[in-house]
Symmetry: C2
Subunit: 280 residues, 2 copies
């Protein structure tokens, strides 16, 4: 396994700076975000990454597919654009954060139009996948369903476990739909090891970061540098390897302190901690 920088970990850096940072620190892969790619331009981004000899371990992110009606068609259109971008970037996968309950937004109070139909939201995801998987397949892009920690079920992802993501993925060819194993989201799951084994080569991305304790007030920023939280990484890493995963290991950290730090120091720490505690 080879270490990859998810560029949101060093979000102060532009795409060019992040690519340069990876090269200087000897990394072979980078995980890109659509916002950063758009900032630079798609073709220019693809060229930058290729010229630096980096693999694109993932593109973040498509998804937010749980609202019906007109919003559903708009979400599908946006996801098709994301697939096109992933194809041009030759990304190993397009990560899908599927969306929460309709009308429930991160950090905002509930309103009269906030939905409570969890089963319906999950149905929308399945319907969307039926539209998007063949489209992705035609373009050689692999969709990667990301189960998020249940704390994000209201507002970000009604996919809450690896098993649930896997059950959805299994209806499609392996090269069209895989799953993400992100330690922050799945470390607590009593079925984790069984489902990692069951996933096998469906694992499209292995992402590592720690689960901080106590969580900060904004729970989105509870992701920490490996070793700073409660996760025991080696058993999870071994299980992912035993399942047949041969891709890169992305470090994706949303954390106010990490974002405030010098990105070069963040990369140095990330490499050291990866060697010390991840067990790859």
């Amino acid at each position: 396994m080879s270490l990859s920088l998810n560029q949101w970990t060093t979000r102060r850096w532009s795409l060019a700076e992040a690519v340069d940072g990876c090269a200087r620190h000897g990394l072979e892969a980078i995980g890109l975000w659509r916002e950063k790619v758009t900032e630079r331009g798609l073709a220019a981004s693809a060229k930058l990454v290729r010229d630096a000899g980096l693999r694109v371990s993932s593109l973040c992110r498509g998804g937010f597919l749980t609202t019906g009606g007109e919003a559903f068609a708009a979400a599908l259109a946006d996801n098709r654009r994301a697939i096109d971008e992933a194809a041009e970037l030759e990304a190993a996968c397009l990560v899908l954060v599927v969306g929460g309950l309709p009308g429930v937004k991160p950090g905002e109070p509930l309103t009269e139009t906030s939905g409570r139909d969890l089963a319906g939201a999950r149905e929308r995801v399945a319907e969307a996948l039926a539209e998007l998987a063949p489209y992705a397949g035609e373009r050689g892009v692999r969709l990667a369903l990301e189960p998020l920690h249940p704390i994000y079920c209201p507002d970000r992802a009604v996919l809450s476990t690896l098993g649930q993501a896997l059950d959805l993925a299994l209806a499609y060819p392996e090269e069209q739909v895989g799953v993400v194993v992100d330690t922050f989201h799945v470390w607590w799951d009593p079925r984790l090891f069984a489902d990692v084994a069951r996933a096998g080569r469906r694992i499209a991305s292995y992402q590592v970061c720690d689960y901080l304790h106590p969580l900060p007030a904004d729970v989105l920023l509870g992701r920490g540098m490996m070793g700073d939280g409660v996760i025991d990484f080696p058993p999870i890493t071994r299980a992912v390897l035993d399942a047949g995963y041969t891709g890169d290991v992305e470090v994706e950290i949303f954390n106010a302190d990490v974002w405030a730090a010098d990105p070069d120091e963040v990369l140095a720490t990330m490499k050291a901690r990866y060697a010390e505690v991840v067990g790859a």
Copy 2:
């Protein structure tokens, strides 16, 4: 199903005040906390509740069994005392919040001695249950394993899903070990309905409160009055009924606003919301 007040919902009230409140509001059952029972005295508490004609729908709580060594023996001794108390109170069950990773405390930063061995902590729970279940059985007390939302896995309960709690319970006679279905903790679980059906008469307690969005900074206080959050109660209530549950429905809310309000108003709201949104 009949509505029960978990007395932590009106924690400003002493046990005597809560018993009186239940009687005035026409409730037939109350969920007690050991702290409040100790304050009043065990025998006096039992008499108070009995004289008021109330059922004790649960006693909260035993558990915190995940630390090994000397702490383990001390925890077992405390749990045996809790079982004795539940017997004297004729509680329908003793709720077990099993504990988190050893040395990881609610609200406190991690230290050098904080554990990361999740599998080991889960083993301790199974070992403790083997000690406690027969002891409870001899005293006619039913232990109720409570899976807590995965957000509490580090510091409060390494039991994170109903299925996991049920798998532990099934090794013992139905009258010795059951499980708690608390909507706050399990609403997100994609296997919820299958596991409620599988639990059948193992369901020892059905507890309702809503899951607020956004969560407050102290996530322990993210429990809201039914109707104030994202949970769709009727399908869950129907599933619990269909599984054969015939006990009381406890309302257990940890919430700064609810605790600050006039307890009599809280009870009135609780009754109204129960009728409106719980679907019992």
